[in-house]
């Protein structure tokens, strides 16, 4: 077999899997939507930044749930760990450089991912779900009790990030925060796109379908999933740190069961097992929440419930998943 034939084959293959045209379009769409958001809601950039932070959590959840089939209702533990680490670095140690705070968030998120992974991956199915719920409650309670570090139920304040790269102050309108968030999301998106298409991503897809088969190929599903949990933790840590840096406060809600459950709802809404699904779900859910709760503060949760039921019943692959498979079918029909 010569190199030429191999390369010919790659060129002729029906689906291109490297970071190529499709991925650049995806990145372009993210940046375009971000730009539209910037001009459409100039007075609400804080909300948009918050959406990006949560989107990073949902992307992180998608890595373990969508790509690896791990059931968890405790994923905000990873997000919260990142948020508190970035916040504590600033409030208690005077490390106020946003990028340094971000690094703390990433490391803490990855460490929390390792801890959660080791515990959660010991079980499967319902017991796994219960372990994840127990973990998020433990994380929450720990943060609540360690109030000298975390501020407990009052929240952690005193976070004072300095100018980004020493040039861009975090302004009152949240412009710097928003641009910072978009940049982080774009970087994370590109990295994850590469990872899900890498040999490791393929291994994880295999584990999701049949872990016993993977074992009989000589690979350890547990080691691979733990690794994915650490990566997932780092991504959630980026989200948490972004939230801490841009809002300058960290509350207990950032590692709550509610936040974990909501992130799962967003993922299912958008479509599991696809990075765009995670992003779509987050944007739709949070916009819906914002618009509907403003329009009808008493019944907005009912409407969110109705939306979710409608999606699960009529578009079980999620909003993005359904649209994507519709487009594929149309293309094949032609």
């Amino acid at each position: 077999m010569t190199m030429t034939t191999t390369n010919d084959m790659i060129a002729a293959s029906p689906v291109r899997r490297r970071f190529g045209g499709g991925d650049l379009i995806g990145l372009g769409i993210i940046l375009l939507v971000a730009l539209i958001g910037y001009f459409l809601f100039p007075n609400n950039l804080a909300l948009l930044t918050r959406i990006i932070a949560v989107a990073l959590l949902v992307l992180s959840l998608d890595l373990v749930t969508g790509y690896c089939g791990v059931a968890t209702l405790g994923h905000a533990a990873l997000f919260g760990a990142g948020a508190y680490a970035a916040g504590i670095a600033s409030a208690h140690y005077g490390i106020n450089d946003p990028l340094a705070m971000l690094a703390f968030g990433i490391v803490a998120g990855a460490a929390a991912g390792l801890v959660c992974g080791v515990v959660i991956l010991r079980a499967h199915g319902l017991p796994q779900l219960v372990l994840s719920i127990a973990l998020i409650h433990l994380f929450h309670e720990f943060a609540n009790k360690a109030s000298s570090w975390t501020g407990g139920s009052d929240g952690l304040s005193g976070i004072a990030p300095t100018a980004l790269l020493g040039l861009y102050e975090f302004d009152l309108w949240g412009r710097t925060a928003y641009v910072f968030g978009v940049a982080l999301l774009a970087i994370v998106f590109v990295l994850l796109r590469l990872i899900v298409r890498s040999p490791f991503g393929m291994l994880c897809r295999g584990i999701k379908e049949d872990p016993i088969r993977i074992r009989s190929m000589g690979a350890s599903p547990k080691i691979a999933l733990t690794k994915m949990y650490v990566i997932s933790g780092a991504v959630a840590g980026v989200g948490g740190a972004l939230n801490a840096i841009t809002t300058q406060v960290v509350g207990l809600d950032s590692l709550s069961f509610t936040m974990s459950a909501e992130s799962l709802v967003m993922l299912v809404l958008g479509g599991t097992g696809s990075l765009f699904g995670a992003l779509t779900g987050t944007v739709v859910f949070m916009f819906f929440e914002d618009v509907v709760s403003a329009a009808n503060p008493f019944h907005w949760l009912t409407m969110v419930g109705a939306l979710l039921i409608a999606v699960v019943l009529f578009a079980p692959r999620g909003i993005y998943g359904t649209v994507a498979s519709f487009v594929t079918r149309r293309r094949e029909a032609k």
């Binding site: 077999m1 190199m3 034939t5 191999t6 390369n7 084959m9 790659i10 293959s13 029906p14 689906v15 899997r17 490297r18 590469l194 990872i195 298409r197 890498s198 040999p199 490791f200 393929m202 291994l203 897809r205 295999g206 379908e209 049949d210 016993i212 088969r213 074992r215 009989s216 190929m217 000589g218 690979a219 350890s220 691979a224 690794k227 990566i231």
Partner: protein, 254 residues
Amino acid sequence: MQPIFEVRNLKRAFGGLAVTNDVSLSMAPGDRVALIGPNGAGKTTFVNLVTGNLRPDSGEVRIGGEAVTGVDAIGRVRRGLVRSFQVTRLFADMTPAEHVALAVLQRSGRAGRLFGNFRGMSDVMAEVQELLAKLGLKELMHRKVSEIAYGQQRLLEIAVALALKPRVLLLDEPAAGVPQSDTGRIEQALADLPDDLAVLMIEHDMDLVFRFAKRVIVLAAGAIIFDGSPSEVTKDPRVREAYLGSYANASHAA
């Protein structure tokens, strides 16, 4: 020749019932052995003990002279003991190319890589194409497994096993469930297996056994009652009794 695969006095009982009772066998590179036996003879338990999915009560399993009784299933695969499954266990959403690539990457220690793609790794792609071409699956290499015929899925099982470059290959009924018209392709694939590979095939189809195996081992009630050439197996009175006995019981039960 130094045996590549040895089982010594393997025993396993479930609640007092000896399902594997003092089983010993030895295989050299290039051996083509068929393991047969009536239903309930303990073939599945034997496979599970050998592959490390079940712990024996006593006895030893050796691969290439190394005792692997304490090694788990994954470790045994890494030492060259690879199995195929009676019912295909493939990834429905993946393509044949991805299956074989995953096996090649795993074997070469690259399955954990976070960046790059197997399509860009020329050595991996060359091996994937060569293997799939050998088994007549090259045209289908980018179709989803759920879209290809069952006989082709069985061939892909063999391709995945071969991509792991085994020293000992355990084939669990490689032609099970395949329509008669397609078994020829599978038999061809079995005939083309590497010469230095030791193959232990568990099979019910006696025609296939006689065409493939140079040596037949008969398991009945957890023990080996025959180990010899295919020409002698049908003449052996204990084998006839074991099979007749099981058929008599089956018809009695029915």
